[in-house]
Symmetry: C2
């Protein structure tokens, strides 16, 4: 624990923050990029996890030129940082047309293109009102997750949407199989992957006819776990760049693949009730939780970090040290009686690492990251 | 619903945001300020709920000169906006001493003072190393909540802390009775209030001897509900400025007293499964939840807003329209079969209001607010 604290202090942490393991994040990116190349599919990573221009450059260095975002403001941010091929994989909000139009023109002028997502005739009709706008249009399909998208069996609505689009041709079908985040085995993930692909193919045949529609899928559990990603044209995973405890507890990633951690100062020690309080609350970690031992709600686990001789970082997840409650700024870590010796080694002013349950939300809450090399990484 | 959407569009909303009902927030502030005056206690409101320089001015206009914050960075922000008497009601993190020292000098030069909070001899000892620093020192006492603070019965540790402080005198005892947020009746709140005061008095007599220690308490449920706040020297409520569904469901506030709401565009309509999807996810609302009807997890309820003739806003909470699931950017609103007619009145591009479960977290996630007058309110 002491060596983790020293490691973090050397990097310049003094308060709550986020450490990004650049070496590991780059390895995660490289691995996914190579997998996409092997399968012959376009790799259009989702940038909502990191929201960082600097981390974006690590993708660019692996040959990535096309990206996914989940809001207009995120698209604007990455357009400002040189990205020209951007899909907003979030349903079109017609109130934002002025900003979307401006962005579409800007990207087109630079030889790029903006992709939008629709799942209703009403939204599609607002595209038809802008016949000249340079855009790619994706039809969101619900292949079983049940959040957004036209249900894959509902051909009538799909036809209405295609007609409502007017002069805009459909680029392809886009789906997010978010149920993969609840899968409990590789076999489950495999079933979700196959079903997703089959359903998209069925829709494509019914809707596209002669015309080949692109199929775009995107969730980290499937994209990371399925060996052969062929059969679709595009993958859009995002979380894999950092992973998190959700992926780790699901068996999708290994401890060493985790690449973003919350850093928290120890501010209170209460051995009489087995609690340590850190400056790391809901405004740092988010209130995303997982179910830990004995059905306990867990908002993160402490970890250890240490530098290897080659400069890379060796990591551990300590399930004996769960964050069991959060308020706005406080996080309470439970330390069981059998770990009292370790407890006694903590001091006020130490820094600890908390592995987040959901890295996308923890990273969203931070205004910047610090890498294991001590570099500050800017973000949206 | 249509009139709510029009009302929000007139204010300039086009995407996710936060509406602050200035008229009501000012009334909430005035009411608490008057109550404090009646009881003869110092009103040192907690600014972590709004984190806004503009909202801070509404407090100043009610005569408030002393404030509470929960981090060094929040203290720095409000110091930049003219506040000179600031207590950081969060345990001292010794790694932040350089920033704290600089802030303490800055406030003292302006005739103000910085207050710090400690609950360990280790933290107190770092104060003793800075004998000349102009500071107020508060000892955090745990009167039963069990989060931070020296347990009120533990006189030995308190004595050690006082000794460790060296030349710094103790200003007073500070506690947060967070258990009041779980109270189910006014009688419960009354018990918590009385017990808190009694325990602080006991500590004060044992520790202070002849010297009068200030007693500082602060939680919205008690400060709002207890009629007579005398018997302590200072109150530090924060949430009352906006309130939220947690306070509303607990019976602490009325619908009309809610003063901050998330604004979300409707992006998806799925009548076949009774779902509406809005752009308002975990990065807008936070994942704070309450238990709704039939034990359902609820992340917010839709509401209505309409302008009265005098310019003020009439408000409703619609428990028939709960937000039942959240992902990073999506919020799913459940609309039951009996409300199908209302459902049919929604359109893609409408704006809806979602009352947040915990306004402190929802507000923390927003970069600014818009008032019902259409004014943009800056925040940290």
């Amino acid at each position: 624990m002491k060596s983790t604290s020293q490691f973090l202090r050397q990097l310049g942490f003094t308060g709550p923050g986020v450490l990004v393991n650049e070496h590991q994040a780059r390895a995660n990116i490289r691995s996914m990029a190579e997998k996409a190349r092997r399968a012959g599919v376009t790799f259009r990573p989702h940038f909502k996890t990191h929201q960082s221009a600097d981390v974006g450059q690590w993708f660019a260095q692996e040959g990535v030129t096309a990206i996914t975002v989940s809001s207009v403001s995120m698209a604007e941010y990455f357009a400002c940082h040189g990205w020209r091929d951007i899909t907003i994989a979030f349903l079109l909000n017609p109130l934002q047309w002025p900003r979307i139009e401006s962005l579409a023109h800007k990207l087109a002028e630079q030889g790029g293109q903006l992709g939008l997502t629709v799942d209703s005739p009403a939204a599609a009709a607002t595209l038809a009102e802008r016949p000249e706008l340079p855009l790619r249009v994706w039809l969101k399909i619900d292949t079983g997750y049940g959040r957004t998208g036209v249900p894959w069996q509902n051909g009538v609505t799909m036809q209405e949407i295609v007609e409502a689009l007017g002069p805009h041709p459909l680029t392809g079908l886009l789906t997010h199989s978010g149920d993969s985040y609840q899968a409990s085995s590789l076999a489950d993930l495999n079933s979700i992957w196959i079903l997703t692909r089959q359903r998209l193919e069925t829709v494509s045949q019914n809707l596209g006819g002669e015309k080949q529609l692109s199929l775009s899928v995107g969730d980290t559990p499937c994209c990371h776990s399925i060996e052969d990603l062929s059969g679709v044209q595009e993958i859009r995973p995002g979380n894999f760049v950092f992973f998190d405890l959700m992926q780790w507890s699901q068996g999708v990633c290994q401890t060493q693949e985790l690449a973003a951690a919350a850093v928290c100062p120890v501010v209170g020690l209460y051995p009489e009730r087995g609690h340590m309080v850190v400056h790391g609350g809901a405004v740092h970690l988010s209130r995303e939780s997982l179910v830990g031992e004995k059905g306990k709600t867990v908002f993160g686990y402490l970890g250890t970090l240490s530098r290897r001789d080659d400069g890379s970082v060796s990591q551990q997840v300590l399930t004996d040290f769960p964050v069991v409650s959060l308020s706005q700024e406080h996080g309470t870590v439970e330390i069981s009686a059998q770990n009292q010796t370790i407890f006694e080694s903590f001091e006020i002013g130490d820094l600890v690492v908390v592995w987040p349950v959901h890295s996308c939300l923890t990273c969203d809450l931070s205004s910047e990251y610090i890498s294991e090399q001590g570099n500050v990484l800017t973000k949206k």
